[in-house]
Symmetry: D2
Subunit: 345 residues, 4 copies
Amino acid sequence: MTIKAAVVGATGYAGAELVRLLACHPNVEITGLSSTSFAGQTIDEIYPSFKKCTLPTLTDMDTAIAGADVVFAALPHGLSEPLAKQCAAAGSLLIDLGADFRLESEEEYEAWYKKSFDEPELHDGAVYALPELFRDRIRDAKIVANPGCYPTAAALGLAPALKAGLVKSEHVIIDAKSGVTGAGRSLTQNTHYPETNETISAYKVGSHRHTPEIEQSLSHMAGAPVKVTFVPHLLPVNRGIEETIYVPLAEGVTMEQVRTAYEAFYKDEPFVRIERDGISAQIRNITRSNFCDISLHLDKRCGMLIVCSCIDNMVKGAAGQAIQNMNLRFGLDETTGLDTLPAGF
Amino acid sequence: MTIKAAVVGATGYAGAELVRLLACHPNVEITGLSSTSFAGQTIDEIYPSFKKCTLPTLTDMDTAIAGADVVFAALPHGLSEPLAKQCAAAGSLLIDLGADFRLESEEEYEAWYKKSFDEPELHDGAVYALPELFRDRIRDAKIVANPGCYPTAAALGLAPALKAGLVKSEHVIIDAKSGVTGAGRSLTQNTHYPETNETISAYKVGSHRHTPEIEQSLSHMAGAPVKVTFVPHLLPVNRGIEETIYVPLAEGVTMEQVRTAYEAFYKDEPFVRIERDGISAQIRNITRSNFCDISLHLDKRCGMLIVCSCIDNMVKGAAGQAIQNMNLRFGLDETTGLDTLPAGF
Amino acid sequence: MTIKAAVVGATGYAGAELVRLLACHPNVEITGLSSTSFAGQTIDEIYPSFKKCTLPTLTDMDTAIAGADVVFAALPHGLSEPLAKQCAAAGSLLIDLGADFRLESEEEYEAWYKKSFDEPELHDGAVYALPELFRDRIRDAKIVANPGCYPTAAALGLAPALKAGLVKSEHVIIDAKSGVTGAGRSLTQNTHYPETNETISAYKVGSHRHTPEIEQSLSHMAGAPVKVTFVPHLLPVNRGIEETIYVPLAEGVTMEQVRTAYEAFYKDEPFVRIERDGISAQIRNITRSNFCDISLHLDKRCGMLIVCSCIDNMVKGAAGQAIQNMNLRFGLDETTGLDTLPAGF
Amino acid sequence: MTIKAAVVGATGYAGAELVRLLACHPNVEITGLSSTSFAGQTIDEIYPSFKKCTLPTLTDMDTAIAGADVVFAALPHGLSEPLAKQCAAAGSLLIDLGADFRLESEEEYEAWYKKSFDEPELHDGAVYALPELFRDRIRDAKIVANPGCYPTAAALGLAPALKAGLVKSEHVIIDAKSGVTGAGRSLTQNTHYPETNETISAYKVGSHRHTPEIEQSLSHMAGAPVKVTFVPHLLPVNRGIEETIYVPLAEGVTMEQVRTAYEAFYKDEPFVRIERDGISAQIRNITRSNFCDISLHLDKRCGMLIVCSCIDNMVKGAAGQAIQNMNLRFGLDETTGLDTLPAGF
């Protein structure tokens, strides 16, 4: 099978990561790449790392998506709804890496994004596409809402405990650290090398837009509302997210039960790995791969379960998961094109 | 005034940082430096950065401390008690950078360090020396127990809120990140460059020995027992600690009250700075200085106070605070020799 | 075709990188992994990044190589000759990542390695295996002597200019910078994070053992002896080598001629890329790939050609090139298993 | 003595570093700080690291320099000539960190900066102020032209060898690596964290404007024209320059002679240190100090002297040297305010 794929917004980091992975996917032909800033150029003029790889010239969006079976959109928030309409009309599948279709509640969307749903009927066919948790619904999705990076690590890190009722789920604290590619390719003082290197800083404390998305997934898993205190930090590494998650164990629950629940939950998942006892999940073990590594810890004195959950923000947190969703949606093995092993150094 | 100072364990990172700062202190003459591994060498053979600075040759401990007014000990845990006895006999003040004299409760010490107090009477004269919180007691200390790095950032970060009863203090969560110098000069796989760079990892989750020391200070401030879930992470930077601290606000308390309490509490402190609203405390603003920077944040939806507290682990977290304590104890201005400004880049 | 492959010395960085790449090679079955230090363990106990990948348990060398079609050796210098004898007897191909078979001149080998050839007749069948320069000879190699990392970047960086006689080739200066994985997995003070980070330092100035290997390749290309001043530096990055190479242009030669010569020389090479005019080759464009990126510059005032040549020391400088050689030797497309695209971020 | 000092361009990195060092100088009162972008704000709004330090509010230039004994200018090239005129009229000393007054030859200035001297008579009173080489002339300077960062490391690294005629001085190759603060505070794609981290790249190869400045100093030392091939690289560290310098030894010269010449030349210099035999000068030993560390190496096979020369680009390469020049010019000990010791970690 050959899937014709277009990438809209191909020169941002998420877009470029899509190109990098799709170019090596055995069942994909890249038929279009769009860029607002660089239309007319070849992508290796912006990313010399892509030299020697034959890729379509950058064009405007309409040209790029023509004839595509699947359109990956890596756009600023708010631009995917019109594109979704266009894709629906053309019969191509939209896999949206933005936030436009992730929140089920329009009220929450308005509260956090200051915008209402322009096309409510499109939202009905959109599925929040975290395959490990919502695989069955994704198979029939009309629009694939690819999850955000932080929410992916959070949901995978807590799903088994919530699902099995092993924790007090009313309130969860997530202390997250992200590599700088998460802030994108645009220049800011915060991501200027001398001011990012040799430091760490919390940002958007208690106000990051991934908060409602995290709560949505955790609440689904718990079967009841979960509130999240979410604090992201900018970490001086290029890639990777580490989330340290704090949630009290339910009365009488043991770590053996927790570990058993996690191993059972992820037994057949190709991309989720539970660390051995005593080993902390860490970024370098998953970099440039689609894995999510999870470690389980107990603060016995306080009855607190501590979960470390790590993904590569550009892969499982963006482009890799989008391709996993494409594979799933087109009936391919989910690992197709995503089977590289991380080095650890 | 000229204070004769000796450094025991001068070639570890904390010892070398003491040498670096003491060498520029206007009221100090370094009269002895000891090293088990490098006795007989000059310290610039191990640290070429010290070239051109005239310093005593490295010797054994007994030679190094002879005639000193003050002895700084940067030793592995458990070696300071016999040294304390020797100093007491010689009439010199011991400033101990190790953990031997930090815990007031022998029971807690035994629980965490698997060792009892060998010299209980010495402990009676020892003072836990965090000047901003216990200044009065330090003035008469017979032994100065210099606080650990993580506990310093934690105690300064929470003291005003606890003291004023603005938070529910039964349980606090501290997510801490430390630069790699905190792990010392000894070689380990975890601190081997290719396995430390481009990653972050939690370690000693819920079991780090600084936990009881943090609880001791926080409980003093709260006037009631405080339990702490403490998770340190190894951060790919050389220096600095950032702690993100989570504690629920007490009923009806506003952020204005919190900010006012912090500013009042630290009004006359030369080394504690409260960030403007909206700015997160971060490592690069305090590196190589004795400052503790603190920022205050609210997760309104969950009623959670979030405090970011940053220090340089080698300065305010070790050598700098030790010198601040020496200044205090010898009647000098506390900032003497510690007045360099951090660059921020 | 399925090639049975064994890796001897699988837990060092070069060995682990071989495992990482071979595990995803479509025509390879890994049949044995040996480790002196970790025999009996699984490799994911040392490298948790390999979890979920089914790999043979670590064993001793004899067990690991039994039945293999190809044996990759990533051993300390001096241990490959006996292994070569064993492989010859067993009819398996040895691809040696060490230096034992790289130098053609025993005299040079003795001068730099303080050791003579133990098995001179084996050396007759060994080929210095830099495919872009010596492809024809490699096809019949009895032993594949995989080039060193620095020599690979140097030889590829200068071959076209030397071959075409465009430079004064008597003396070349190579200022090389290498990521820290080049120093291996063993712990040293020089590679302890706080002493490697935020610095750069030259080492083995004018005395690095790669010098004669570089001179051997450059002399072959020039058809006359080339002397090299070679200064490597330890660079605070994990991976990658950048070499800035200085050689005077021959009388009357223009940069157009130089550029034309390079583009012609590498026209059909899948792994060598010449940067556009004005762009410097840099590490981030080749990381984790088998590419060698080369940029060409002129110091017009001094008539000096300056070449920047970059490879990933672990891939094109070690494991990747070894697999390229295996592909070549077994009649596969040289890019098989090596076609991942670098991200550039 | 109290010197009234103003900093023009106080919010760029060089300006901020001046503020940082001047604020702790015992004989300086900072009386004015100017900033085009941030006039009206306090400098700790841009650099929170300066909190608690009482400093004048940022103003326009005219206000800032009023009444100053010394004006430090950290301006883009081309803006210092009019300021020099103003300072001359007001009787204040200008210490210029820009390039306007560094080149003695107007022809060279025009060739590299595409601009002629607007005020030739001012240039007559300007002195190229590298104290270790031109101390006597600086004492009477009307305008202090503070050297560039790369030229400082180069000139100090070669002066003794050139002065004593120990090398063939017609042509020198300098391979330089600089920390990212050298590129300034302005945002560029090249200094965006994810594109600067984990790489190294040459830039302005053979065309950097520091070239004629380096040649000017080296030619003075050699007493004959010296041509320089100069290739700077952007290094993923915040601070520091390492230059590896290649120059052939003169016939019959030994390394003992070289070492002796360097030690004699710098015997009384407080800020220049020659490393022991076998140790390479490296950035971490001089960071945040005014030291220049130099190591001497021989490639015996090629008769090549290799010198490694390291400075902190912001201190000895900019603000520190400017203060050293102020000290010299005002009759203070040159080390005043510059006596901090680097840590090495």
